[in-house]
Each structure stands twice: as structure tokens, then as C-alpha cells.
């Protein structure tokens, strides 16, 4: 279980999170929606210790992330797959080596690494792209390699940072299908940060809206779709103020 507990974070004096509190239950996929710059990605990065809170904390299965020493933080990160907004693939490594890198860190035998790389690329429909470099891939393919890199580690949690941003509608739908398939295949708990409502409705069990640094509303997909909160309504309908 992931718990955001009264999280506060500011950058250069600008308050981004102002008491963000939210629970992610085991086995569910929770989608965090919100305006650009509202702090969705900032909240997500606290889960893997890439950012440190000014106050409050994130706990993962009872472990307060900001208090973990390096070995414990590394152990926690081994349980979490993180898919970055622009994939964050390593330019100097080919597709297979990008997927392999995290597995090598775990000290797995070579044959198991090869098997997992093959399996992960097959799961994202990228079999046969092993030797290609990130610069030779389309945006959608890069994001799928990012997913393959994360799921090859067989994580307990998957975190997706804007997985459909910058993609055409068809490729976005492919990404949504992959996220659903990943959850069914691995049974992982997921957190998806997005402002793409179609994607949110497809992949989410629950949706939380982050507004002015804290949760404005959280509920099931249906509850959000029928909300009477004017701020949430305006956002999900995409109406300018």
C-alpha cells in the first residue's frame, strides 16, 4: 500500500504540494489527474525518493521513504517500476540493453536476464527491436520500451508519469491497453499520473484530482464522471474558465 501523508513540497519558494494526502490500495490502479504544473509528477517522484518532502512523507508498505538509508531505498526501488514521461531511455544503449540494465543490477544469471528481456519486449509488442537505439524509435515505441524496462523487473508497484502525453489517439489507446495488460499479467498496484481523461477512465479503478497542492476529490471512475464539484467538472469536461 502506498500512502501520501500530508505531503508538502516547494520549489524556489513556490508551494507545489500543500498537504497532499492519498492512499493507494493494494491491487488497484489509481489515477491522479490535475492541471499541468499542479504537482502530479512531483508527488509521484516522492514515492521512489527522487524528491524529498519539505514536510509529511510517503510510505510504501509502512516504510517512510524519506527516512530510508541508501541500501533500504535501493531495496524499495527494486519493488517499483517507474515509467517516465518521455521514457528516459539511455541514448547510448540499444533497446535490449536498456531493458537489461536494471536486471543486471539485481545480479540475475545471464540466461534469466535474456529470458526476461525477451518476455518484457514481447509483452509490449516490441519483439525484434532488441538492437535498435532510442533515436531510431518513435515516441510511442520509446514509451513502450520504458514500460518493458519497468516490467522486466517484475515489480510490485508500477508508477506511470504522463504515459500518453505527446502521443496520437491510437498510440495512446495502445498505451492504455498495455497498462491494463501489465496489471492483469503481473497483478501490480499502479499509480498513473495524467491529464488525459480518456486514458484515466480506461486504466483507473479510482481517480484523484490534485488541485492547488492537495486532493480535491477522490472516487471511482463513475463518481468522478458524475461529480458535482465545479472544479473537477470543469477539468474533466475540458472547459476553459
Amino acid at each position: 500500500m502506498i500512502q501520501f501523508q500530508d505531503l508538502h513540497k516547494a520549489f524556489d519558494g513556490k508551494q507545489v504540494l500543500t498537504g497532499f494526502t492519498l492512499d493507494v490500495k493494494d491491487g488497484e490502479t489509481l489515477v491522479i489527474i490535475g492541471y499541468s504544473g499542479s504537482g502530479k509528477s512531483v508527488a509521484l517522484k516522492h514515492v521512489v525518493g527522487l524528491l524529498h518532502p519539505d514536510a509529511g512523507d510517503v510510505t510504501v508498505d509502512g516504510r517512510a521513504v524519506s527516512t530510508l538509508d541508501r541500501p533500504r531505498l535501493a531495496a524499495l526501488r527494486r519493488e517499483i517500476g517507474f515509467v517516465f514521461q518521455f521514457a528516459a531511455l539511455f541514448d547510448s544503449l540499444n533497446v535490449a540493453d536498456n531493458v537489461r540494465l536494471g536486471l543486471e543490477r539485481r545480479g540475475l544469471p545471464a540466461d534469466e536476464i535474456a529470458e526476461r528481456v525477451h518476455e518484457a519486449l514481447a509483452l509490449v509488442d516490441l519483439t525484434g527491436t532488441d538492437g535498435r537505439y532510442p533515436a531510431e524509435l518513435s515516441g510511442g515505441m520509446r514509451k513502450r520500451v520504458g514500460i518493458a524496462r519497468a516490467i522486466a523487473l517484475r515489480p510490485r508497484y508500477m508508477l506511470y508519469d504522463e504515459p500518453t502525453t505527446g502521443l496520437d489517439p491510437v498510440t495512446s489507446a495502445v498505451m492504455d491497453r498495455l497498462m491494463v495488460r501489465t496489471r492483469e499479467h503481473l497483478g501490480v498496484t499502479g499509480v498513473v499520473v495524467t491529464h488525459d481523461m480518456r486514458s484515466a477512465y480506461t486504466v483507473g479503478d479510482r481517480i484523484a484530482m490534485l488541485y492547488e497542492g492537495r486532493v480535491r476529490q477522490v472516487g471511482t471512475v463513475e463518481e468522478i464522471q458524475h461529480t458535482e464539484d465545479p472544479v473537477v467538472r470543469q477539468f474533466i469536461e475540458g472547459r476553459p474558465s
Binding site: 526501488r77 517516465f84 518521455f86 528516459a88 531511455l89 536494471g102 543490477r105
Partner: protein
């Protein structure tokens, strides 16, 4: 005015603190040999072998110019075999390490800052961390070790090249015999001349790569930030290299 001085002082203290933290993190990553061992060999090739042409090119022309300027200065007053003395001493003690260092500050320091800066702004460094790698072990230690180990090798070859072209210039352009050139070369030679230049170049290699890594990993703000970091890496490296050069002269040559 006072507030501005105060802000500058605070910023300076913070920068020193960040530098100390960075070096301490790098030292802490040293036991992780499994990560940096193989990568260091890759960096040694990139820093060392790939940098040789530019260092040797500079050294070759420096040797020729040194021989001709020495001859021009000595004419009629100092025996010409002192050309060998001046070429040897100057290449070993100063121009070999400093000119190669300045050239490599541009080539190696800038490329490291640009590469790591790009990795930072495209979240590749964050991705490394989420894969449970320590960026210090994976990115910094291999580069700094490679720089520290390979700079003396590059400088040694640059010194040899400079002396060789100085000798050829003396032979062809100054009518100085090989025996006379070698007599001059040996005249005031001390073993310290050799190790001083090589030791100094190791500290240059350490400094240039460390600055490249610190500036690169501290990059903020997309392509503009990468450009700014690249420029800063070259400027900071060149300034620190000249300060170090004066420092070692004061400490070791007095």
C-alpha cells in the same frame, strides 16, 4: 549593496557545501567496484585514446615554436645547445601539461558536462536511480578515475612529441646537431622535471572531469541549461587548471 554581498556570500557557501557533498558521495561510491570497474575502461578509452590526436597536434607545433623562439632569444649570447634545455624543461614542466590540459578542458570537460547535462534534463539520471543504481558509481567515478589515470599518459606522450619536434626543428632549421640538442636536453635535467609534470597533469585530469560531472549533473532547464553547463564546465576547468598550475609551482618548485 550589503544585501547583495550577503546573498553572494550565502550562494558561495552553498556552492562549497554542494561541492563537498558531491566529493563525499563520490568517495562513498568507491567500494561499488562491480558498477564502475567495467565502465572506467570505456571512459579511459574515450578520455585517453580519443583525446590523443588533439593533444599531440598541439604538442608537435609547440615543440617547433619553442626551438625557434629559443634560438631567436639566444643568438650570439648563449650557446645554441641550450635550445635542447629550454625545449625539454619547458615541455616537461609547463607547456606539456598546461596546453594539453587546456585543450582537454575543452574537449573532455565540455563533452562530459553536455552528456551528463542532457541525461539530467531528460530524466535519464532519475531513471538510473529508479533502477537502483547510484549515479555516482555509474556516471561520476568512472569518468573521474579515467581522467586522473589517463591525463598523465596523454601528457607524457605530448611531452615526448614536443621534444621530438623541437629536436627535428633544431636539426633542420637551426643547423644544430643531434649531439648538441641532447647535450642541452640533459644539461639541467632532474627526475623531478618528469614526475612534476605528470603528477600535475593527474591533478588536472581529476579537476577537469570532476568539474564536468558536477556541472553536468547540476544542469537545469532543458537545452539552454545544457549549453550553459557546457560553457561553465570549460570556463571553470580552465580557471581551476591555471590556479592549480600556480599552486603546484609554489608548493613543489620552491
Amino acid at each position: 549593496m550589503i544585501a547583495q554581498v550577503g546573498r553572494s556570500a550565502v550562494a558561495g557557501i552553498k556552492a562549497v557545501g554542494r561541492f563537498g557533498q558531491f566529493v563525499s558521495d563520490m568517495v562513498r561510491a568507491l567500494p561499488d567496484v562491480a558498477t564502475w570497474g567495467r565502465l572506467t575502461l570505456v571512459q579511459m578509452r574515450r578520455v585517453g585514446v580519443d583525446s590523443l590526436p588533439v593533444a599531440l597536434f598541439i604538442a608537435a607545433f609547440t615543440g617547433v615554436v619553442l626551438a625557434l623562439q629559443a634560438s631567436y632569444t639566444f643568438t650570439g649570447t648563449v650557446p645554441l645547445y641550450f635550445v635542447g634545455t629550454l625545449v625539454g624543461k619547458t615541455m616537461m614542466l609547463e607547456l606539456g601539461p598546461v596546453l594539453a590540459g587546456l585543450a582537454l578542458a575543452g574537449r573532455v570537460g565540455a563533452s562530459m558536462a553536455a552528456e551528463l547535462g542532457t541525461m539530467r534534463v531528460t530524466e535519464q539520471v532519475d531513471a538510473l536511480e529508479t533502477l537502483a543504481y547510484d549515479p555516482q558509481s555509474y556516471l561520476v567515478v568512472p569518468r573521474v578515475l579515467a581522467g586522473t589515470a589517463m591525463f598523465p599518459v596523454i601528457v607524457a606522450l605530448a611531452i615526448l612529441t614536443g621534444i621530438l619536434t623541437g629536436w627535428l626543428a633544431s636539426l633542420v632549421l637551426l643547423d644544430l646537431s643531434t649531439q648538441e640538442f641532447i647535450k642541452g636536453l640533459k644539461l639541467f635535467y632532474r627526475f623531478k622535471d618528469t614526475w612534476f609534470g605528470l603528477f600535475k597533469s593527474a591533478t588536472f585530469g581529476f579537476t577537469i572531469t570532476l568539474v564536468g560531472c558536477i556541472v553536468g549533473l547540476g544542469t537545469r532547464g532543458g537545452a539552454e541549461g545544457v549549453g550553459r553547463s557546457t560553457m561553465q564546465a570549460v570556463v571553470y576547468s580552465a580557471v581551476l587548471l591555471l590556479v592549480l598550475d600556480a599552486f603546484w609551482a609554489m608548493v613543489l618548485l620552491r
